[in-house]
């Protein structure tokens, strides 16, 4: 595993994209094929089924560290990562030399062991590995290799090493390939990949239209006008659901979420498309909770996402449909290089022919001037619409997030002024910093928690709030600190709905810190009633 550990060390040590691509490229040129395959798998979130629970891992880690469990817990919260914490408290005894693939096998074999044997084997590995090798071993078990390598960077590195084009590689690496049954050559180098019926296409993602000073949030009419002639653009609603692909090939049907998760079984509503759509059809769209002709709040959708199996009740309560955006494969042919306008025409034909109530065409918004589109956007803040999507009519379907031809223009977020009440240490680059905050709104003379947020502050502000939390701690609950109510922040969020699961009775979607209201005293923060008034 030395070579793989060296790769992760190199990736970890740099923030530069080029340096990361170079490190990956060197690895893909030097390492053994089987190990390369596992590096691709691990970096793209594929790992062996977790053979042990986190509770077990923590218990064993505490045992080998020789420190009390509360101290291990506290250390873990300072480090912000379990895998790393073990590297700091474990002691290397007899070094064990195995390849990355051998270690993956070692982890997989744990599954069949009894608890005692599992503990023995994990502890044995912990005493035979150190530093990055130990870290990688732990990550094989726990997953979550977050070392700043996006799919895009990995593909770049792989492309540099193999000479295969990036877009082709991105497509080859999609889907439910399994490092056990494929080889590096089959997955990465072979041209004939059509044997994999389930393979989705990489999603094309849009950036937000940039506002003044490059801020994504504050785009105004003038920024949209800068896109040029309205006639060159196709506008649709940007729906707030689960972006997904429905694939029908050789009499089989598959549903993929944007997170590259095969979710066919979770959405039986699309099963009928297996026969309604012809062989060789891939539709890109949004899976939306939709009932009796209207979209349901995203909170309803979340109930379904969380379920492992979808029962009758949830199917009846939260039915879904696919809002079709685009057609990627038509009659078995990859049509991503056709212009948007042509793909749209084909899509309309396919949807019409299928004539299935769970497959709906995303409406194209009519507008002759940007002002008219602006009005569409203003009217869009209802139901499950997040804003407007703008697609250049000549655009091809690209891979990943790109600027230029596709833009999202979100409705302005809702916001409210709230008081910082609790804070917790963050993870990753926020480890040992109090950055995960809880905010309260007034109800009578009390602050009632309404949201947690951790993004939106600058690094400098983050440090200042961290210092504030450390100096103004009232009480500690494990890693959480209750702080003196003193700081007011404007919290922005996308949607709002009533909720019986939250103490406040309200659930907000994607809350984040819009700005620090230095100018406001806590008495001037909003009340829970102010928040409830935003629910339409």
């Amino acid at each position: 595993m030395k070579r793989a550990a060296q790769l992760f060390d190199e990736l970890d040590a740099t923030t530069g994209t080029n340096a990361k691509v170079d490190a990956l490229s060197r690895y893909f040129s030097e390492a053994k094929d089987q190990d390369k395959l596992w590096v691709i798998a691990l970096l793209s979130g594929r790992r062996p089924k977790r053979p042990v629970t986190s509770t077990q891992l923590r218990k064993w880690a505490t045992e080998i560290s020789g420190i009390p469990d509360w101290l291990f817990e506290a250390s873990y919260h300072v480090v912000g990562d379990f895998a790393e914490t073990v590297t700091h408290v474990a002691t290397l005894k007899e070094p064990i030399v195995k390849s990355l693939t051998e270690w993956v096998t070692y982890v997989e074999e744990l599954k069949a062991c009894n608890e005692e044997e599992k503990a023995l084997r994990v502890k044995n590995a912990w005493s035979g590995l150190a530093e990055m090798e130990l870290f990688v071993f732990n990550k094989i078990i726990t997953g979550g290799f977050r070392i700043g390598v996006s799919q895009k960077i990995m593909v770049k590195g792989l492309s540099k090493a193999t000479g295969v084009e990036e877009d082709v590689l991105a497509h080859r690496l999609m889907g439910d390939w399994d490092p056990h049954t494929t080889t590096f050559a089959q997955l990465v180098l072979e041209e004939n990949t059509s044997d994999n019926d389930s393979r989705p296409y990489p999603f094309y993602l849009a950036y937000g239209i940039e506002g003044p000073e490059g801020t994504a949030a504050g785009a105004v009419l003038a920024d949209v006008q800068a896109l040029g002639e309205p006639a060159e653009w196709q506008a649709e609603h940007k729906w707030d659901g689960i972006r997904g692909q429905v694939i029908v090939r050789n009499g089989k049907q598959y549903v993929w979420s944007r997170g590259e998760e095969l979710v066919t079984d979770k959405y039986p509503e699309f099963e009928a498309l297996r026969t309604a759509l012809p062989h060789g059809t891939v539709i890109d769209g949004e899976i939306l909770a939709w009932k009796e002709g209207v979209p349901l709040p995203f909170a309803e959708m979340q109930k379904r996402i969380g379920r492992k199996t979808v029962g009758k009740k949830i199917l009846a309560d939260v039915p879904v449909l696919l809002m079709a955006y685009d057609l990627l494969e038509h009659e078995g042919k990859d049509i991503r290089q056709l212009p948007m306008s042509e793909r749209r025409m084909l899509l309309e034909g396919v949807v019409k022919q299928a004539a299935h109530p769970n497959l709906v065409l995303s409406e194209v918004l009519q507008f002759d001037t940007w002002e008219e589109l602006f009005a569409h956007r203003e009217a869009a803040r209802t139901g499950a619409v997040e804003g407007i999507m703008l697609k250049r009519k000549t655009s091809t379907y690209e891979v990943g997030r790109r600027r230029g031809d596709w833009w999202k223009w979100k409705v302005d977020p809702l916001s409210i002024d709230a008081v910082l009440t609790f804070s917790m240490q963050g993870h990753g680059r926020r480890a040992d910093l109090y950055t995960d905050h809880t905010f309260g709104l007034w109800q009578n003379d009390e602050l009632v928690t309404f949201a947690k947020a951790y993004s939106g502050l600058t690094d400098e502000e983050m440090k200042q709030v961290d210092a504030f939390v450390k100096k103004n701690t009232l009480e500690r609950f494990g890693p959480v600190r209750k702080v003196t109510p003193q700081l007011v922040f404007e919290i922005a969020f996308e949607g709002i709905s009533t909720s019986s699961r939250h103490k406040s009775g309200v659930a907000v979607r994607f809350p984040r810190i819009a700005r620090w209201r230095h100018d406001k005293k806590i008495e001037e923060a909003n009340s829970l009633d102010d928040l409830k008034a935003l629910i339409k």
């Binding site: 970890d12 040590a13 740099t14 923030t15 560290s65 420190i67 009390p68 509360w70 101290l71 291990f72 506290a74 250390s75 300072v78 480090v79 912000g80 990562d81 790393e84 914490t85 700091h88 408290v89 700043g148 963050g426 993870h427 990753g428 680059r429 926020r430 480890a431 040992d432 910093l433 690094d459 500690r476």
Partner: protein
Amino acid sequence: MPSLLSFTPRGIYCEQADVFIDPWKGVDRAIITHAHSDHARGGSKHYLAHPITKQLMHARIGKDLSIDTLWPGQVGTINGVKFSLHPAGHIPGSMQVRVEHKGEVWVASGDHKRHADGISEPFEPVKCHTYITECTFGLPIYKWKEPTVIFNEIDAWWRKNAADGVCSVISAYSLGKAQRLMTGVDTSIGPILVHGAVANMNTVLQECGLNLPAWEQITPATPKERFRNALVITPGSAIGTPWTTKMKPYSSAMASGWMQLRGWRRRGNLDSGFVLSDHADWDALLLAVKETGAERIIATHGYTDLFSQYLRSMGYNATAESTEFGGEDGVEKAKEDNVQFSMVNPRSSTPTPEDHPNGTKTL
């Protein structure tokens, strides 16, 4: 009877002698453990410190400070309370303060470390009844490797950069860490160039008798080619400012105990992080506690709650007190970086023992 030392809003206080140790507000009389800014602050009428600390304080705070000196082992008596200084190994001149009155002994550790660093008098355990200790790195996740291993890493980084024509810029506290780096690295790789803040400290320390390898201060006149194989030592806040522009291309790094954690390394946005600390790690903190033989332990700065809780679980009478010491290992406060703009004139005289070492002195 009042406690020999107590924690007050101005600092650690000995009422019997009316003396504070490292006060963070102005007082009549202060004993200073070492010259880092969170321990040595201006505004007090009279100071007592190690001769090196005295020179450093004159350079960092002001020429006019009234500072009396004490050599390690020498005993100063104030109103029947005996004070003495004992090496803490943290930076040049850094001392633990031993306080004795009517047979009761307290020791305040200031900041300390075990590993020999080539520039500081090595840490010396002192027996006491009550031990006031720092615990900047008082968690079991902080365990240092041998400094030679770390210096090999630093040399390898510098050597590779130099071979590629890339300047090596390393962030380090201008007092202590900077000089430790200079004495520890392989100077055959290239020249050592330093920021003004580091240059000032170098000058004072050399006048105090410290041996340093050749170094030069970076000025607007320093030619660009000079940086190609150079090691630049600077406070971290200068990295990424116009000051480092002419060093491009450069690789940035930091030498600090905080570099142990990935989160810190990634937050720093630096190319490399070297785990080189001037503070005791977990094991060294516990060893120091044990060697004092103290029954009572007071943890001051760092992970005080957790460290004292652990000591209690080991059977010690341990508590945590909050202080205003920073313990920012290598993470220097921004204001210190401006030392270069207020160039100081360190005293030219090399400190000599005013009385014989190990003698007694009435203050």
